[in-house]
Symmetry: C2
Subunit: 256 residues, 2 copies
DNA sequence: CGGCAAATTGACTCCACTCAAAGGAGGTGG
DNA sequence: CCACCTCCTTTGAGTGGAGTCAATTTGCCG
């Protein structure tokens, strides 16, 4: 499947964060007052530092489901911190097949893969109505040299992404992979104070399948199997994790 | 398979880079005179900066095949830059199965996954007689705040690792995965000035299989198939890439 | 209501795994 | 130096989990 609909070729995109329409400077909501609170890069910054940080943040306008914020080849103007909604990153292989690399929830940073080579290596598209904060990477790096705890946080988040990707490389069965994704979403959603056992799957079955290297039909079948085993209850996009412990057990094959 | 042979439990390991026997300060070979030259983190440092950098580097003694330099749970004293030889990183899952996360060649940095959580997330073992430079991560980070090009290089290398891991997540056939590994090794070996078409596989078939999420037998079979197709010539650890172009074609399914 | 895409369900296929066994290669001890 | 042992690798035969193909159902939106 190709993403047909007359998309803007990436080289038509602007090359500066300030010019990218998604990341234009807007009426600010101070980082210190952001609902994400301590989930973002400002985690360990004190009041003064947070204020400093706010100066390099561009809040975006609302982004509608289906809108791209990055495309492969875009120059690394900025990385993005998800404020609300949900994104997926993906590439298209030479057979025209889409491959979903990952999902991004509020508080997570998109674009670390773009630092090497200074161009984005994946397309990133909103799955829900969303918003992001754009961060000029150069400015963040500059500021990180002044603020040790910002640099530390950057290294930490990148390191966590490396760990996460390494552990995703494991050779798991379809059930294990799906259990793992459900648990991962649960944890990440819970961090923001929402229910860890009841949430919406913003992504389609096809997106899940692509991300987990499975067929769409397998997702349906395994979710049905989980449901009849009493592990979850699922209806379209709504899932309830009935037996989170057992799901976690299924998911965590690692760490001997 | 479990790694039996009376290994030192990780908590018996020392907690400071200076105490870790692998990374004791030794007779220095200056970074500026290192055979790796511009492959290491000092890539973009000028003469003075390189000299400064040398002060935080601990060269290791020779490390024999089968020796560990990190174990899961070890505190993040230092990360390691491979000087010579070859390493693999791996975890043991709860079934006692080893899973190989990656291979490391000279010039590559081991341990970025340890920054988050400040403990190593994988075991790292030498596959050949090897040596490494130990870098106290805290010192590197401190210095990165003084030297913009060091900071840039750190971000760049971590970013590259994220990209690499993302692209490894693709759903490839056994042939594609093996072709990709061969091409990857070829490129990384060529960077150091050695032949891109003739080299040694330091790792066993089993290690390759584990890393690529395949069975050992599949590695043998596919290599045999590649050989009879005239793509490679292989004898035990020795491989010659006869038709590198066709291998690359097989490997690069990505980037549409 | 009608049209379309997403999701589900069923039947069959195939790639890679498992099980099994036979060759090498390298190391050790007598 | 050779016999022996062990581990790694290769090769063969059969199995199974997930994919493919196809048909149907469901939900969504104009």
């Amino acid at each position: 499947m190709s993403n047909a609909s007359g998309v803007i070729p990436s080289n038509a995109m602007s090359t500066l964060a300030q010019q990218n329409p998604h990341f234009r400077k807007r009426s600010q909501i101070a980082c210190s007052k952001c609902t994400l609170g301590k989930l973002c890069l400002v985690r360990n910054l004190d009041e003064d530092e947070t204020e400093q940080f706010e100066n390099i943040v561009n809040k975006s306008r609302p982004i509608h489901a289906g809108e791209h914020i990055f495309r492969i080849g875009d120059p690394l103007d900025c990385i993005a911190a998800v404020r609300a909604g949900c994104f997926k990153s993906y590439v298209i292989d030479k057979n025209g097949e889409e491959h979903v690399l990952g999902f991004y929830l509020p508080g997570e940073i998109i674009g670390f893969d773009a630092i090497d080579g200074k161009t984005h290596k994946a397309n990133v598209i909103a799955l829900d109505t969303s918003s992001v904060c754009g961060l000029s990477f150069d400015s963040v790096a500059d500021m990180a040299r002044q603020l040790p705890s910002l640099q530390e946080e950057l290294f930490r988040v990148m390191s966590a992404q490396i760990s996460e990707l390494e552990s995703n490389a494991a050779d798991l069965s379809a059930e294990e992979r799906i259990a793992r994704l459900l648990c991962s979403l649960s944890t990440r959603i819970a961090r923001r104070g929402y229910s860890p056992t009841e949430f919406n799957l913003s992504m389609s079955r096809r997106d899940i399948a692509s991300n987990l290297r499975l067929a769409t039909e397998t997702i349906s079948r395994v979710l049905a199997r989980f449901q009849s085993a009493g592990l979850i209850r699922v209806n379209r996009k709504k899932v309830e994790l009935v037996d989170l412990d057992k799901l976690r057990e299924l998911a965590h094959r690692d760490t001997g």
